[in-house]
Every structure is written in structure tokens, then in C-alpha cells.
């Protein structure tokens, strides 16, 4: 137990060291998470639009052939 406490107190500099490490963790994780989140969102939207386009594209083509 003492060892654990010792480890976490870091020679009384624990507050500085652990804040530094947790800040780093927070920044890096949030970079990763926002990036992945945006990727997911964009991928979903792309699929939806591509679907829309396929259906719209077909009707569009018909229109074109119908044009004089």
C-alpha cells in the first residue's frame, strides 16, 4: 500500500506530474475521438447520398433521353 501511495505522490510532485499526464491523455484522446466521430458521420452521410443519387440518377437519365 505504501508503495502505491509512494508511487502516486511522486516525491510530493504528484500533483504536477499526474496533471501533466492526464492533460496529455485528454488532449490526445479527444483528438482521436473527434476524428473518428467525424469519419463515421461522413461515411454514413455519403452512403445515404450515394443511395439517393443512384435512384435520382436513374430518373434523371430517363428525362434526358426524353429531351428533344
Amino acid at each position: 500500500m505504501d508503495q502505491v501511495i509512494n508511487f502516486f505522490s511522486m516525491g510530493n510532485y504528484g500533483a504536477y506530474i499526474w496533471t501533466a499526464y492526464s492533460l496529455t491523455a485528454i488532449v490526445m484522446l479527444s483528438l482521436l475521438v473527434t476524428t473518428l466521430h467525424r469519419l463515421r458521420k461522413n461515411q454514413a452521410e455519403l452512403e445515404e447520398l450515394q443511395h439517393l443519387r443512384e435512384t435520382a440518377g436513374q430518373s434523371n437519365n430517363k428525362e434526358e433521353t426524353a429531351r428533344p
Partner: protein, 203 residues
Amino acid sequence: MGLNFHLAESSALILEGPNGSGKSSLIRILSGLLRPRLGSLIWQGQDATKEPEIFQEHIHYIGHRNAIKPVLTVQENLTYWSGRDKDDTHLDMALDQFNMLPLKNTPANLLSSGQSRRLALSRLLASKRKLWLLDEPSVGLDVASIKLLEQAIAEHRSTGGSVIFATHSPIEVEAPTKLNLRDYSPLYNRALINLDDEEESWV
């Protein structure tokens, strides 16, 4: 599919087409202000797509906006862009051609819209370039001033100059080539929509 044209000396090309069909864009591409996504621009045998500088000294572009400073007088405005001396008689002649001589010392903020346009047009005569690129030059002009413009164009062509202009209202020039852009614009020609940005031009 593409748009392809060639311009000889002393000729006039009129760009037509509905709003948003790309007349202004084409003129800006020709002037080198915009770069074409595709296609190329040949000036006297040289490819000028990448380096518009090599022909920019031969053209004069007048766009929708008149580039007039309201706090300067008519003469000062003209002097600045012509690069000529203040007392050069060419300046007075240029102003006179568009009937602006009486307003020579008027501050430009007092000009009416047609007068401003005439001032912009008189720059054409103050700096003699070979190719005029005019975007709706007759906007705001009264009937008499349109005549003056037609005269100026005729004179310019008689000395070997060429002119390309876009317009919605008729401007009469001799033996014009006409180009209607409606068919080249994705806004009006649906077949183009799926072709991804095919704005193009070859001179």
C-alpha cells in the same frame, strides 16, 4: 462536348447566354484572373494557361465593377489607370469619345451610373491594348452612349484590334461571331451535371 474557339485579328466575339451561364467566368478565364480547371489557352501560338502574364499586357478587361475611386475626379481616375501623364492629350481624346469631357473635373462620387460606366470605358482608349474583354459594357448606358461604344469598337477593329464581349442587350458590331453559352453550362444543360466541373476553354 467541350467548348472550343479561335479568335483572329480584327474580329469581334459576342458571348450570349442566360444569367449564370458562365459568360463572366469565361471572360475572367480569358483575362487570366481565373484559372481553368481543364482546357488550355493559346495566345499567338504559346500556351498561356499557366502563365497568363505573357498576354496580359495585350488585353484590357472591364468587368461588372467600374474600379472608380469616388473621392478622385474623373480625370484623376483616368490618369491613374492609363499610366499616362496628367496632361497627355490622349486622355482628353479618350474622355471625349465617350462624351465625358465636360465632366473632366467632377469628383467621381457625383457621377450617375451611366457616366461611371462611360468613364470606365474611356480607359480602353487611354491605354491601347490589342484585345478588349468587356463584360456587359453597355450596362447603364443610354442609347446615345451605346452608339459611342459601337463607334469605339469599330475604330478599334479597324486598327487591327479584337474584342470579346458579353451582353444581354444588343450592341451592334460588324460581322460578329456569336457564341451562346447556354449549352455549355451545367445550370442549363443537364447532361453536363454528372461530368464533374468541366468548365473549359481553348482560345
